[in-house]
């Protein structure tokens, strides 16, 4: 049976997985300012994940700790959206076949931040006072991330022929994964019933307006989609999550309990 802890893990896993992905740009950013930007966004996301894991560990009790939740759960136990674990490139984009495509990074951060500003805003009224406190902090940070990714979305989309093509390819590749936002997982259902969470479905019109407005300004087209909906938030992930977690969890598992 799902408990509010599963919902906290969903929020925490989202933040930690995107934080880890974005951190891959550290030292490899397309320009120095963006290198710093992505590292700072990751810092905020990992900070949010820590607060959420700490709260989940507190609710779990026993010997649960934030580190155990982040480093010692296996891929099928992670509850993040599949969107967030994908590599920084689309499989069908020939010219983006190098390891990282910045348009993919920007589009992903935009789509996620555009959702999370609304989620955090609503969670400020959560029946769980700790989650409400985390949401109030996270809202400030996520609003800033949204400004940053939206700015770059417009700059890339309404930029050169190549930046436009790459931004459009990223939108086409990633948009179908956002369908997962709008299905209700057992954990979300249980948390909504307990008034811990808010009904994400109700946020869809606001998210659509935000996304459509930005895409229009960026001269990008929103693809139509009716098809497969990913299920990362119930633990059914793409092949990419294992590699990401392998890197993130390797040190903690090789040296359990190690400290600096």
């Amino acid at each position: 049976m799902s408990t509010p802890i599963d919902y906290l893990l969903h929020l925490a896993d989202n933040a930690v997985v995107l934080g880890q992905r974005n951190a891959e740009w550290c030292g490899h950013g397309p320009i120095l300012e963006e290198d710093m930007a992505l590292a700072n966004v990751s810092l905020d996301l990992i900070g949010q994940a820590r607060l959420l894991y700490q709260r989940a560990a507190e609710m779990k009790g026993g010997d649960a700790t934030e580190d155990k939740l982040a480093y010692f759960r296996d891929p099928h136990e992670f509850r993040n959206y599949t969107l967030l674990e994908l590599p920084h490139h689309g499989p069908l984009v020939g010219y983006a076949a190098a390891n990282r495509d910045y348009a993919t990074t920007i589009v992903r951060n935009f789509l996620y931040s555009a959702l999370m500003v609304h989620v955090w805003d609503g969670l400020r009224q959560s029946a769980d006072a700790s989650l409400a406190a985390i949401a109030a902090k996270s809202l400030k940070e996520t609003s800033y991330h949204l400004h940053h990714s939206r700015d770059w979305l417009v700059r890339l989309g309404d930029g050169t022929e190549e930046s436009h093509a790459r931004a459009q390819a990223a939108v086409n590749h990633l948009m179908p994964y956002t369908e997962e936002f709008w299905t209700t997982s057992p954990a979300e259902g249980a948390a909504v019933a307990a008034r811990i969470a808010i009904d994400v479905w109700a946020l869809r019109p606001a998210w659509d307006a935000l996304v459509n407005g930005a895409l229009a300004e960026a001269t990008l087209t929103r693809p139509n989609f009716h098809g497969y909906v990913t299920e990362g938030k119930i633990g059914l992930h793409s092949e990419h999550l294992s590699y990401l977690l392998g890197e993130m969890q390797g040190l903690a598992r090789a040296h359990p309990g190690a400290t600096w």
């Binding site: 990751s42 810092l43 996301l45 500003v117 109030a136 902090k137 940070e141």
Partner: protein, 165 residues
Amino acid sequence: MSNVVDKVWATLEPLTDPEIPVVTLRELGILREVRETQDGIEVVITPTYSGCPAMGQIEDDVRSSLAQAGIEARVITQLAPAWTTDWMSDEAKEKLRAYGIAPPHQTRQDVSVVKFMRRPVAEAVACPQCGSTHTIVTSEFGSTACKALYKCLDCQEPFDYFKPY
């Protein structure tokens, strides 16, 4: 206020931010409260950015200062209400400016952040060196989580802006 509470405040007064050593933890609004409870003295601190790497150092500094002064107190990290740059004293803002960091503007409580589909028209940030408001943002993210990078178009100096949070 009891003597012991006064003593704790006095003991912690010299502590400054590890990354911005000109302002104290009290002036930044990180050191929120010292209270006497049935279980002893409690010192309440509020984290700034969720991932601010200085928070661990700040907590260590508070604990070791208390220990050195021979004060037994519990250090409590409290998330709500969320820290805001609006808590920063005018005195602290002036110290930041003198140090070369443009102090944060008031946050916009009147407009829900979520309603910002587009960036609001930014208030001009004054150059901490020459005072000119003829400045531009170079990078939204700067040397620490709490700062953005700006440049003055008059004196040409680059400078940090403490972002309103």
